[in-house]
Every structure is written in structure tokens, then in C-alpha cells.
Amino acid sequence: MAWFSKKQPRISRPEEDEARPSRMQGLWVKCEECSEIIYRPEIEKNLNVCPNCGHHMPWPARARLAAVLDPDSFEELDRELEPQDPLGFMDSKRYRDRLKATRKNLDEADAFISGLGRIEGTQVSVGCFLFEFMGGSMGSVVGEKVTRVFERARERNLPAIIFSASGGARMQEGIFSLMQMAKTSAAIARFREVRKPYISVLLHPTTGGVAASFSWLGDVILAEPKALIGFAGPRVIEQTIRQKLPEGFQRSEFLLDHGMIDAIVPRKELRQKLGQLLGLLA
């Protein structure tokens, strides 16, 4: 796991990964796309991209940041923020308990990590979703952290980069989650004054209130191959129009065709492409 910087206190270590229920468990991983069984270290070396078919598997946020940013350059900020339960929300489980369990399981407080880092020497204000934390849903903590990414960028005159992977607003925080869409978008409006680029990188999947706010407001919008990106989830659309969606609908390639994003960037080229864009715009 060469991309894990030694200075990261909360990087997932292999023994933690073992305890985590995930498709990435064990020494062998089956590719969802081509069904090839692959030796796990082989995939990790390949940035969680299937060496056989190129399928982009989920890539943990900390590993992504460590690999995309210059070595040891990531300084995490706003780690002190913790979610609350303003509605006293309960479904089959109390939201409070769900948070506690997820936190214990992942050793993360919420679904977003952020701070400062460098890409090819350029300092950036950066953030990345943790999709494994309640589907990367955006509640008050995620909204606040995203807002601070743009406020920090504005104060320090830096470019901003956000990697999104989220099912949308977090239902369990109700109206507070919805309002994070306005809050984050307003922070971007202010950030625009400093004339630094905001690069939004859309990962699989990015939908709902996250897609419909800061994620789609990038000066440049990149996407990983075959990521599902859209406002409504495919199931909701199918129920509404009462027909099956065409193959490839709402995927990165479809969005590129429709002029809704700027480029599709395979993971292996991500660091280089971001560096190139920063060179051109920052």
C-alpha cells in the first residue's frame, strides 16, 4: 500500500480491513465486472482498478488522497466535527446508534475528510467523500466541512478540489441536510471572487442533493469512468416513467456525450490531469 503516507494517523491498516465487512476483504478479490479473481495486493498497487478489465472499484478516501496528493502533503483539518441527531431520528435503529456503530466500524466521524495538500507542488484546499460512511450522505457535518473547504480556499487564495461519492442528502438529519445544499453552494459563490479554480471530481456514485449542489458547480468537472452520476436515482426514475432505463444511462460516458461534464479521467491519470489543470488555471 505504497500510497499510504506514514504521517496519517487514521489510515486503515490491513488488520482493520480484515475486520471490516466488505467486498475488499481477504487476500483475493473478485472483480464485479469481469469476474476475474485477483490477488488483493495486485489490485491495491493498481489503485483499486481491475488489472484485467480496467473496472474502477471503490477506492477508500484516505488512500485516494494519499495517492493523488504529493507524498506526505495532506494535512487533515476539521477532524473535531461530530454529527448530532437534531431530529431524534429513528427508523429500525436510532440515528444516534447508527452513527456510533458506523464510527466504530470505520474509525471515521462522518462521511467527508478534508484539509490542505499539494498536487505537483501547488497547494490546494481539498476534500473527499467516504462513501462507506452511510452512503456518503450529506448531513450537517459534511455540509460544514465542504463549506470550510471553500472558505479556506478563499482565505488562502487556493484552488479547491472535491472528490464526490454520495447518495445525496442524509435523510436522518432532515431539513438540516437539505439546507447544506444552499450553504455549500453559497460558499462557492463567495469563493469565485478569488479567481482560483474549483475542480470537482465525480466518483461512483454521485446523486441527489450532492450532485445538485456543489458537485455540479465545478469550474471544471471530471468523472471517473462509468461512474453513476445524476439527480434522481435510477430506481426512482424507472418507477416514475415506468420503463427500464437504457444501458449506460447516467454514466460518465453518457454525461460527457450530453455536455454535462468536461472529461473522463481514468484513476491512473488523475494525479497528472489535476496537476495539468492546476498549472493551466491556478
Binding site: L87, M171, I175, R190, A211, S213, W216, A232, H258
Partner: protein, 323 residues
Amino acid sequence: MAIATTYALDFERPLIELERKIDELKALSQSGASDFTAEIARLEKKAKRLQSEIFSDLSRWQVVQLSRHPARPYFLDYVQHLFTDFFELEGDRRFAADAAIVGGFARFDGEPVLVIGHQKGRSTKENMQRNFGMPRPEGYRKAQRLMKLAERFRRPIFTFVDTPGAYPGLGAEERGQAEAIAVCLETMSGLTVPVITTVVGEGGSGGALAIGVGNRVLMLENSVYSVISPEGCASILWRDGSRADKAADAMKLTARDLHGFKIIDEVIPEPPGGAHRDPAKMAESVGKSLRKHLSQLKQLSPEALVDDRYRKFRAMGVFLDNA
């Protein structure tokens, strides 16, 4: 604005039946058949009591039903009551006209302003045309265009929210529904003119918020505002959309709830029995609130208006900061 509908919600029915009886007796009295004055007085008293019984303790789900009542006044009803000289502007200049969002310039107390609102249909035909008040990207792009126009001409903006949500359709996705909403949010946050949002019915998620980034956000007493519809919430949580009543309670989505959370600035009381029972009176109350807030906001400079709006939304969210 006489509303030609006999539609009644389950919990309204006993009241409506009683009122029908009173009307019948009144008609009989008038025809001179016999004198029912005493009986009418007794029933009217009973109706009043029944009304306050039903409406003093509405469940959240009942409020959701009232917010969607087919006879509830819609955006254009408020336009008719509160504004003069309305000139609708329909074009998004991109792809199509979207009748689910209506916008145009008009006068409020004689002063030119912009009004924008979601618009549901009264009839099946009109609902087809207005897509049940569910906008496509074109509606949001029209709203952006009109809001920028209003800013350029320094006209205050009134938005009226009443939608089940942005339309989740094939074409809407193809043409960038998420982008259209996102740009609305950013555009509104930077407007240098006063913006007052009133939720008059359903505030359905991002499709509602897209025209809801106001310096002031007001809600009618029986309106709702939520991150997802109660049905959608229930079908995700319990895989059963029919438990929407439970979801409504879990999400705390009424005007009173949101006022308690300090998400909105004011709850505008509705006439007894709900806005649909007396649309003219309802509009009068809305007008009074709009007038009050507009006169406050007009004291602010363009920069102060942007600041005021930024601070308002910046402060939204509940979390623990251990720093």
C-alpha cells in the same frame, strides 16, 4: 377565488357534511317552508367547535395532506390577489418552456418586482401541462434568467414554493437536472436584491430549495418542507411507502417544526380550516408578511443583502465542534 371542488380530506369530511346540512337548512328557511334559525345557530356553533377540535391537533401527516389539498391556493392565486400588472416571461432561452415554474414581473403595492413560483394544475389537463408542479431543468434555468434580470433592474424578488420535487425523468436527467438546481442555488445566494421566499404548499426537497434561497423564508401554517417526501422516506426506511405518516413524524417537516429549528423566519397563520377555506383571507395574510419583510430588507445595501443571506444559510446545521 371561488374554488369549484367538492374534494374533502378524510378528516375534513365530518365538518364539510355538517356545513352542507347547515346550507340546506338555510335554503329551506329562505324558501319560507319553516323557520330553522335556532337549529342553524346550534349547528353553526357545533361546526365551529368541530373545526377547532380537528384543526387544533393535526398530525404531521394531516398537515402534509393539507399542504397538498387540491383546493389549496396555488402560486398564481397569490399573484392574482397580491400583485397587479403581472407580465409572465416564459423563456429559458435554452430548450423549452416549463409551465411547472411560472415567473414574471409585476407590481406589489405599485412597486415593480419579480415573482417566481412552482405552479400545480387544477385540472388533469392543466396538471399534464404543468407536470404536477414538478419542474424540469428548463424551469430552473428560466428562474435563473429571470432572477438575474431582476437583479440588473434592481427589482425585489418574491418566490413561492409549492412542488412535490424536481421531475425525476429521462429527459430531465439528460439535460442536467442536478446542474440546473445547483446553479439556481449559487445564483440566488449571490443576488444583490431582496429575496423573500414563501412556502405555500409542498416544499419538496432540492426542487423546492432551488428557488428558496431567500433573505427571508416564510411558511404557511399548513405547509411542509422536507429533504425527501414522506412516501420516499418510508419506502427507503421500511420498504413501504404507505408508512408515510410515520416518516412525516420522523422527519419533522411542518412549518412549526422548521420554525422551532430556526430554519424559517415566520409561520403565517392560515384561516380556520386551512388556506383553501378562505383563499382571499390567506392571501391577505401573506401580503401583510411580505410587506413587512420587504420594508425591512429595503433598508439593506446590495452588499448587505448578500451578506445577510450568506450568514443565514451559513449558520444552518447542527453538529458538535470539539475544536
